[in-house]
């Protein structure tokens, strides 16, 4: 039983990271109708930026982390202004290929830095543990969960109480009507990409103590896509909850199923969910509740 709870907590922690990446994906998709295949690469860039500022330039960790997130946010905005803006209104495939290409360029750029390539790095986070009775929790896992809750609350407040948040919501509801009401739609698209990129960078920082920092850490985004789709692609809380659900399901599968089955679980769940609930779990539940 104790082992089960132990596995459950680590599943929730990794699920929070899935959820945050899925959240960033859905945020961009909702606001701009474009699909981003580079969230994993933004995550990796964010982690490496913090690493470089902290270990390379010697800045304190909190400042390095904050600057890394800001840098990736600006990067997202810049890419939207220069390249991704052209994908708006085009078939999904255009955005898919564009963001995949941009992601490759980011991965290649980081790999070109001799100091970054080919190695696993670690940020000097405390590697200690908290003990609650017989239960032992890794500090990094606790941090991930706490940070996710804080971020989710901050985002909810942003979308509910600020002008920019309301304008962004109006944009994703109906861009034309929003434009008629005086919302600067183009600027909102930039804001959405910037927020989405920054969110991915935060996920990268939270992931850093769990899996450490390496070139392929962005592959975790491949598990965030199923989460985003399970959540219904347009629901922010849905994406977060689906991410946590997938993290837990994966952890439990790792405990119960034979070796190797764990990595397939998110995709198998996604396929079966798509076959059974074509509009996402959230829509399935809502429809069930309305009946």
């Amino acid at each position: 039983m104790l082992a089960f709870i132990q596995v459950l907590t680590s599943g929730i922690a990794i699920g929070c990271v899935y959820g945050l990446v899925a959240l960033s994906f859905v945020l961009i998709y909702k606001a701009t109708e474009t699909v981003s295949f580079m969230q994993g690469d933004l995550l990796m860039v964010g982690a490496f930026a913090a690493l470089g500022l902290h270990l390379g330039a010697g800045w304190p960790l909190w400042l390095a982390a904050a600057l890394a997130v800001a840098f990736v946010g600006v990067l997202g905005a810049g890419l939207e202004r220069t390249v991704l803006r052209r994908a708006i209104g085009q078939p999904h495939l255009v955005a898919v290929l564009l963001t995949f290409g941009l992601g490759m360029m980011m991965r290649g750029s980081v790999a070109s830095l001799p100091a970054a390539a080919q190695e696993v790095h670690r940020l000097p986070f405390a590697a200690d543990t908290y003990a609650i009775g017989p239960l032992v929790l890794a500090a990094s896992h606790v941090w991930v969960v706490v940070a996710t809750v804080v971020l989710a609350a901050a985002l909810a407040a942003f979308f509910r109480y600020t002008r920019a948040g309301l304008a962004l919501r109006a944009c994703s509801e109906d861009a034309r009507v929003a434009a008629l009401m005086g919302v600067p739609v183009a600027r909102m698209h930039t804001l959405a990409w910037s927020l989405g990129a920054a969110l991915a960078a935060v996920a990268g920082l939270l992931l850093a103590p769990v899996t450490f920092i390496h070139l392929n850490m962005g592959l975790i985004a491949l598990k965030a896509f199923p989460a985003a789709v399970l959540g219904g692609l347009t629901s922010l809380p849905g994406a977060l909850l689906a991410g946590i659900f997938l993290g837990v399901a994966e952890a439990v599968a790792g405990l119960l199923l034979p070796e190797g089955a764990k990595d397939v679980v998110p995709y198998a769940l996604l396929m079966s969910a798509l076959l059974l609930f074509p509009n996402g779990l959230g829509a399935g539940l809502r429809r069930g509740g309305a009946r």
Partner: protein
């Protein structure tokens, strides 16, 4: 007579490219690359059918190529003649395509694209874990292609076998695209609701497109396994899927001939990058990431500058 003339109009650029490539790179090397271009083009035809004709987002086409390659490799490894194994490899690809298209019965667009991605990741994981059959992540060696004791070891023989397969595939696709099925695919691509109102079943049309695309992928995979001689699950990962998508996109996904042009570009890019690296000054040109950066830049540039592809730009 006019048929000959059209054929010539399509063929002369290729004859010219080959005539230039043979003295420039050496006959063996040029023919080896030509084989690769043709094999990519066969897989690319599958993507053109699924993406260009039926208008679906297919993010996991490499998994269908992998199915063909692995079925061929395993069967030939157990002593079956390559020519007899090939229909089974094609069938495996087609069956994989049918399976991958199951969610299309209820979904469209992006949701379905994501489900093909999930399908591909499952296939890759199974191939890497099923040690007893596929030898897992270590990969497996594949014997050369042979028919009745004649072995296609020479690069010329390999190029000719591939060319024969491509010609058959092109002929079949041209017939299909002009048939009732092709019209159904394009109707579904342009408007699913309108297509359904006209008595075209979108679910059936999508599945047919995936079965044809899967069969072509399976054929390409079987040939690829023989030509490369060694396959492992990671060769057929997400990057290969995107290479195939890009291939169809570069060539122009709406035309069958686009697959060949796209394949030429995809095979040529690494060569060009290698040449470029030798001529760039400084140490950073040797860095491992440069290839990725340039490849990504090519994708972005093509999508931004030639959205309808090379073949698609012509009227």
């Amino acid at each position: 007579m006019s048929g000959l003339r059209t054929a010539w109009r399509h063929l002369w650029p290729w004859a010219l490219i080959l005539a230039l490539a043979v003295p420039a790179m050496g006959a063996d090397y040029a023919l080896g690359k030509a084989t690769l271009v043709i094999t990519y083009a066969i897989a690319g035809l599958g993507v053109v059918i699924v993406v260009g004709q039926a208008g679906q987002i297919a993010l996991g086409q490499a998994a269908l190529v992998a199915l063909g390659a692995y079925v061929q490799a395993v069967l030939v490894g157990h002593g079956l003649a390559p020519l007899l194994a090939m229909p089974l490899a094609i069938a495996a690809g087609a069956l994989g395509g049918a399976l991958a298209s199951l969610p299309a019965r209820r979904l469209g667009g992006l949701y379905f694209g994501m489900s093909t991605l999930a399908f591909a990741l499952i296939v890759e994981e199974v191939l890497a874990r099923w040690d007893s059959v596929t030898q897992g992540a270590a990969g497996m060696a594949v014997a050369g292609f042979s028919v009745f004791g004649w072995r296609a070891d020479a690069t010329l023989a390999q190029a000719l076998v591939s060319l024969g397969a491509l010609a058959a595939a092109l002929l079949l696709c041209a017939r299909l695209v002009d048939s009732r099925h092709g019209r159904a695919w394009r109707a579904v691509r342009d408007d699913e609701v309108a297509a359904a109102a006209c008595g075209v079943s979108p679910a059936a049309a999508k599945m047919q497109a995936f079965v044809v695309g899967g069969a072509l992928s399976g054929l390409a995979g079987a040939l690829y396994a023989h030509w490369i001689g060694f396959i492992s699950p990671e060769q057929f990962g997400l990057v290969f899927s995107f290479e195939l998508l890009m291939l169809a996109f570069i060539g122009g996904a709406r035309r069958l001939g686009g697959a060949l042009w796209g394949a030429l570009v995809i095979v040529a890019i690494p060569q060009l990058i290698a040449v470029l690296r030798d001529h760039l000054p400084g140490d950073w040109a040797r860095a491992a990431g440069l290839e990725l950066v340039l490849f990504g830049a090519v994708i972005v540039a093509v999508v931004l500058l030639r959205p309808s592809g090379i073949a698609g730009a012509r009227p």
